[in-house]
């Protein structure tokens, strides 16, 4: 416990933000946080922590271990702001964008391009993986299973992989920066869902289909690697104790 009056207490490299005594970073931690993204992350979270500390000191509410705010005004003002934003965006776009409601579909004619609803594009794209279905030389170049069977099997594999994830990772991280690897897996998966959706509408995509096919599998890897690198760099400036204090649950006195 050092004294706040001493000028040496500035331990954060001159941001004007002074961490409390029990969270003062060590010299090696400070050295790691000197530049770039770790420094930015550190300053961001330290500022948030300091604001929270000031709010607690000014507050007339009883200090609790679980941070809770009254519904009015805190929660409702925030919800009103968000609601106003989305209502305003709806009004703006509906007033300014030109698309009209088209003619009703003709039930007696089949359209040239048949697609499911957009949120099922990823599954529809998995049915189009016939290029990956290997021709086996032992069978005289025949395929072990039909392309359509292969596509259904791809759906089983993907859904199975998603179902396994909760058993591999219990989700104890509060922020992606705490577990860069799993965050990278998640970003790669989201990107894969997107690229797979683009592959499923390859008929109307304005680009080369084989390039699209390659990008479908390369883009998720690239995005995952970038996510991992960025989060791994950010983690050097991250304060784990911050979340532990925010979310620690203790029974009321």
């Amino acid at each position: 416990m050092s004294d706040d009056n001493q000028p040496d207490a500035r331990t954060d490299g001159g941001t004007g933000i002074v961490p409390p005594d029990d969270e003062t970073p060590t010299w090696s931690e400070r050295k790691k946080r000197r530049a770039g993204l770790p420094r930015l992350t550190y300053e961001y979270f330290e500022r948030a922590r300091r604001e929270d500390q000031d709010l607690r000191e000014q507050s007339t509410y009883v200090e609790r271990d679980v941070l809770g705010f009254p519904t009015w005004p805190h929660e409702l003002i925030r919800n009103l702001a968000l609601t106003s934003f989305f209502v305003g965006m709806l009004l703006l776009l509906s007033a300014t964008l030109p698309p009209h409601i088209g003619n009703p579909a003709n039930p007696s004619s089949t359209p040239a391009i048949i697609l499911p609803d957009w949120y099922l594009y990823w599954s529809f794209g998995l049915l189009k993986l016939g290029d990956l279905n290997p021709a086996i030389s032992l069978l005289n170049g025949q395929k072990l299973m039909a392309d359509r069977t292969y596509g259904v099997l791809a759906n089983v594999v993907i859904v199975g992989a998603i179902a396994i994830v909760p058993f591999l990772n219990k989700g104890s991280a509060r922020r992606p920066v705490e577990q860069p690897f799993w965050a990278a897996i998640g970003m790669g998966g989201v990107t894969f869902a997107f690229t797979m959706s683009m592959l499923s509408i390859q008929n109307i995509m304005p680009m080369n289909v084989s390039l699209l096919f390659d990008l479908t599998f390369l883009a998720p890897i690239v995005v995952g690697a970038i996510t991992y690198a960025v989060l791994k760099t950010m983690r050097e400036g991250y304060m784990y104790d911050l979340n532990r204090r925010y979310y620690r649950l203790r029974p009321p006195k």
Partner: protein
């Protein structure tokens, strides 16, 4: 630095929104086509308002790109360069 990110992001998103509205009017021949928002605008704009709309769209397009580039790249790079040039005491 975080504030600079937010300034660039705000410029980018607001200008891109206005650009999208303009391009959906003037750079989209049909909403059934595969060239939406990127097709060439009409050669002969009917009224002065159409001319203004096309110009506003172009203006917002470059505002989005250059605004984000300024606040995300140029200003931080200038600061880094200045810090590197100034001799520490």
């Amino acid at each position: 630095m975080a504030d600079e990110f937010m300034k660039g992001f705000g410029l980018f998103s607001v200008a891109a929104l206005v650009w999208m509205i303009s391009a959906s009017w003037y750079r989209t021949p049909s909403f059934e086509s595969t060239r939406q928002l990127v097709a060439a605008p009409p050669e002969e704009p009917g009224t002065v308002f159409d001319t203004l709309g096309i110009f506003l769209g172009d203006l917002m397009f470059w505002t989005a790109l250059l605004g984000a580039f300024t606040f995300w790249v140029i200003i931080p790079a200038t600061r880094q360069a200045r810090e590197a040039l100034v001799v520490d005491e």
